[in-house]
Symmetry: C4
Subunit: 230 residues, 4 copies
């Protein structure tokens, strides 16, 4: 894929955040990696979506050096490149401050699996990171945000949850490319909204039982999946 | 009705879910039966609404065999056909994961009748199924979802509530045709939203008294109904 | 005003309910009285807004007899005519099942005055009627809904609150004409929404103090009002 | 800047309130000062946004005398001019009754800093004024609303929070010009909404720790800020 095509895809994925009501003003950013070239295309920092063009998308290498572009890349770039370095299988990352997912992040609670809408996309809870430590803030805040995220998957398969909420901050989601990571950001927001409503309606409700989680996750994502068109 | 007309009606009913903000992406599905021909037209599995065409609608028989269509039918097809086999008087079925109705399903509580908006369309509570048993999940998950639903009406007239919520899952609604089942899905979402707000505002509030339920249900649905144009 | 003009105004006021997101499908109705002619123009019963035309508006006299029109008038017509007979100064009435106002009606609680948004339009609480008695339901349900409403104003000046919520049912609002009653319906919905959020955030919060209520109500509605253009 | 240009900017900032869903009907008002000329342009009182034109904007001096315009200025004009007189560095002021910010004002609670969305724009809590005293209401209600606001900043740098909520009333925000004050009004509404959801989900959650507040506020607003384009 040419830089031009890569920037076009990342531009369109960023604009999809507006269409899906996941961002206002300059909130959020989407990136996509070209593993062959070792470069990441990402939204420039602090540019409002209504002014964004495909040419504004910045290309950096995995050490955060600008390869192409005249603008400064997203201030969250180091979080993105850290995740791309750690997780070889992901191709796109989305960060938003979408309302309900951010409320769960601010409540500093993982999102419990309360129903099949959740179970269709994520196996078990959507993890919430620990609160960032002071030494992490001092060392390299944005890269350490990546560490906060990967720490949630030390004992857990990252493929089971293409999404996480960062405590006191907001969500990050990923996928095979930029578009898929935005898709997961939109699903997370809807799952978070349903979970908020469920918990405020019935605070005692427990998690969905394991067998339903298994069934829904497997029929859509397992090796004998029968959801969708093959 | 020709297959072409049947598919057109089912296509339009599915698209109405988008217009009414009841679905995102590939969530939900609507079907309609042609009792004379013994066939059901239903949304294909995992196709996003923005890509859906009337030609994509799949026609199956009541044993879930494809009669016409090149795509795989909805993964919930067996739930639909089970209900059509059990309830001879219904002509259309809608399944959504609409936000507030799903929150009640996740809270695993029937929706109490708290006001006349509810009483105009449903007599008494909107039932919530029992949680599906493990033996049901293992046997035939989708058909057993149908059993979960009909079990709610063993001691209750199905005509009194053209809607149900499946515990830990989401709502199903029905009617004389596909369009009417979508209408009931939209009403359910609004009733569920009002009930959520009422219960979070005043958790102690009890059900509407029986005499008002009777009056509203009968003036709209009884044999001496005087609501609407005759 | 000719019948044609009266029907046009009532039609437009009804359609404004859709524009302001206060109704779905066939919910709600708006009427306006011509005091000189002794007639009331009102929405026909059970007609969806997308199909409504100005010609469909029905004209009845104050005893609910059809004066002009081929359709059956709103099933709530007797509530409207009762209020017009009791309150000589009002010219228009709106009934909706708008979401937040209906939630308060279902919670069977008056809406407390918690801030100046409320105090600008209504002096003190927005009353909630008593639950309708069984003898009222049996006698004449719709006319008795009018009695429920006027009973709220036995010890209170009706001009201080151009709106009421009917317990277990939904709101009614009024004004000098149909358009003004719709305006009050939209304000009520926003006031009800703010009050819901306030009370769920801080259940202990008391009413706004009397002196601010006075100030805001008087600067907008008193004889020395200085809000707006003279 | 000519009066014509000033009025155009203030008109556009007022209309942005509608675009951002921060006002209905006649709610709210935006102003901008021309410090060289010593004049303030402000929305006229009680004019609905759909009828507003740039020519309707009223120009007053800092003692609230009309300099240009045929309409009566906003009834809140004295609050605006008081703030402009007290705070020499601000250039624009917005007042709305936006839903979630007003709910916090009605709950009479400052908005706690629960996450980085808040910390990006405001350092520490968003202050809530004391309830206005009776002697203030009697003396000069609108000017005293300004005093309520400046009293929140006696021990606090006004630059740390370009926004405040007035107890029992609604928010005021400010910035270098009218457009920036509207931007802060929209951010406040979103921050207030997230904080509402967080607190109703987890009432025990405490404020974000100081070190994250510092980091986010400084990376965006400090002297070594690296967010955005330089």
């Amino acid at each position: 894929m040419s830089f031009k095509e890569l920037k076009r895809e990342v531009y369109e994925a960023n604009m999809e955040l507006v269409t899906r009501d996941l961002v206002i003003y300059t909130f959020g950013n989407v990136s996509q990696i070209d593993r062959d070239k070792g470069v990441v295309a990402i939204k420039p920092s602090g540019v409002a979506y209504e002014n964004l063009t495909a040419d504004d998308i910045v290309i950096v290498d995995l050490e955060n050096n600008i390869v192409e572009g005249t603008m400064r890349p997203s201030s969250d770039t180091k979080t993105h490149t850290y995740l791309y370095r750690q997780w070889q299988h992901i191709g796109g990352i989305t960060h938003t401050h979408s309302t309900y997912a951010t409320a769960w992040a601010q409540a500093q609670q993982p999102i419990p699996c309360l129903g099949t809408t959740h179970a269709d996309y994520v196996f078990d809870t959507i993890p919430c990171t620990a609160v960032i430590r002071n030494d992490q803030i001092e060392r390299d805040y944005e890269e350490e945000t990546g560490v906060q995220i990967t720490d949630c998957f030390i004992d857990r398969d990252v493929n089971e949850s293409p999404m996480v909420i960062v405590a006191g901050h907001a969500p990050f989601t990923w996928g095979k490319d930029a578009a898929k990571s935005v898709y997961h950001a939109a699903l997370l927001e809807e799952i978070a909204r349903m979970a908020y409503l469920t918990k405020t309606l019935n605070p005692q409700i427990g998690d969905l039982k394991q067998e339903i989680m298994d069934k829904h996750y497997q029929r859509k994502n397992g090796k004998n999946a029968y959801y969708g068109q093959s």
